[in-house]
Amino acid sequence: MDQTVNLGSLTLANPIITASGTFGYGLEFMRYGDLSKLGALCLKGISLAPREGNPMPRIAETPCGMLNAIGLQNVGVEKFLKEKLPYIPAGATLIANLYAQTPEDFGELAAIFAGQDKISALEINISCPNVREGGVQFGQDPLMAAEVVGAVKKRAGAKPVIVKLSPNVTDVRVIARAAVDAGADMLSLINTLSGMAVDIRTRKSRLANVVGGLSGPAIKPVALRMVHQVAQAVNVPVIGMGGITCAEDVLEFILVGAHAVQVGTLNFMRPDNAFRLVEEVRALAESLGIGSWDEYRGTLKV
């Protein structure tokens, strides 16, 4: 079966994308597989200036999931372009993940990446629950979301723009429609659910940041529901994620309407998991007699 997926002007060899913040700059995983075999890589969130991130501890394990409050630690766009991007092998399809605290800065970042040949698309993160400013507050308000998307689209040139949605909202379709109306070429969801874990003995949060973002299999039912809702509400391709750990999970997201998927926490469970998943998804789809993703996508009987 041909695994190709068409996301508007972006064509992927298969529907498996590694999620931002869980696959570094790809370099960390080159020992474990061939990056060009992945559908695409979403790179760690990048901001204009370097960010040192939140204090430690930053991660905690929870039942069938984990919390993180990394706080978007990153080297900043300049250093990224000089010290990281050149080393990522040419065959890999790369999506930059953008983070900023103002629409202007988002636009600025978009303009920088618009000129980067190695970058195939931009994903804008308006849904990080772990930063004080500019994170989820853009993703929880349709007007602010639209403003950010507009600013990015204006300067993104020919690069397709993916808007990454927050699940921490009353109705995800409202933000989804606002993003699409403002020019989003695609949507991706879900980012992490805002959560906490505490230690009853030290009486402290297990995260220095107190709250963090929940990811992993625990959130899969919520993610599936939101992807299903959004896929029905908009006419642009939807990239689904949240708790995927196996080929069955991938097909579940495609069944409810996703064009492609991202895998995050899965990469921590075993560093070659994303590479293995590409093969497992192919095998499963073939064993089910699926002729193409277009044929299977969104065929949930309701």
Binding site: G24, E28, E52, P217, N267
Partner: protein, 258 residues
């Protein structure tokens, strides 16, 4: 054997047995086909783990050879409890060797400071050809027979002190301070053990100006530098991944929380 082939592989459990005390377990996996340096570690995730425990667990390589990969671990929580229940024939996903190692100063004395299960990485160190510039001070809670102390003491000059009470711990700290002071400008210490001990070691190294390396045990999720969950703060204020830039750091390079 390849020194750098840290792919991810499924190894088979050859044995998994308490060392005598149920809280301390010796795990031997089939040979990974690589060797490594003392202080490097592996990530382990048994294939039988469902999604309930998401993360693999990091462990120092206690020893590795054609006979297998040996891990010495203490049972402290859910993950290590489940590791202790592994049986011969079970498979475990293993990736490594990971991280930086203890660098021996060949021209001067190297004093190992090991606390409890922190003795693990020094088993393979004591196996090296030249041992005259190595010695060890070992602090332990359980009876000495539960640790691979004898193996090490058979090859290098070693001394052990048991800590059962707060007074014992205070005594141990005094001895540590003395040894670290004595090495100032003359040699270095290599430390692995519980965090309070590492803090004491760091304090005296800085105070007396003694060279030293310490192995951190920050919580880890990926082990490969991607999640940024295991970072240590350098003295210049940067957060660096301890799985890649550590776990062994120069005492002067990093801060340790209060």
């Amino acid at each position: 054997m390849n020194m750098n082939n840290n792919v991810c592989q499924d190894l088979t459990v050859l044995s998994c047995r308490p060392t005598g005390d149920p809280s301390l377990v010796n795990l031997v996996l089939s040979s990974p086909g690589w060797t490594c340096r003392p202080g490097q570690f592996v990530m382990l995730r048994p294939s039988g783990w469902g999604p309930e425990l998401i993360w693999p667990r990091p462990f120092s390589v206690c020893d590795v050879s054609e006979d297998g990969l040996r891990i010495l671990f203490q049972v402290v929580g859910r993950g290590t409890r489940r590791l202790a229940a592994l049986a011969p024939g079970d498979t475990v996903a293993v990736w490594g060797p990971l991280g930086r190692w203890f660098r021996i100063d060949e021209d001067r004395p190297n004093l190992i400071l090991a606390g409890g299960v922190g003795i693990a990485p020094f088993v393979m160190l004591a196996r090296r050809d030249r041992t005259d510039n190595l010695s060890m001070l070992f602090g332990h809670r359980l009876g000495l027979e539960h640790y691979p102390y004898g193996e090490i003491a058979a090859r290098i000059e070693s001394e052990a002190m048991q800590q059962k009470t707060p007074a014992d711990i205070a005594d141990f700290e005094k001895v540590l301070a003395g040894r670290i002071e004595a090495l100032a400008g003359k040699g270095q210490v290599l430390a692995c053990g519980p965090e309070p001990m590492l803090k004491v070691v760091r304090k005296y190294c800085l105070q007396f100006g003694t060279d030293g390396q310490i192995s951190l045990e920050n919580r880890m999720s990926c082990g490969v530098g991607a999640c940024l969950g295991c970072v240590a703060k350098t003295i210049s204020g940067d957060f660096v991944q301890s799985c890649v830039h550590g776990p062994v750091f120069d005492v002067r390079d990093i801060e340790l929380g209060a």
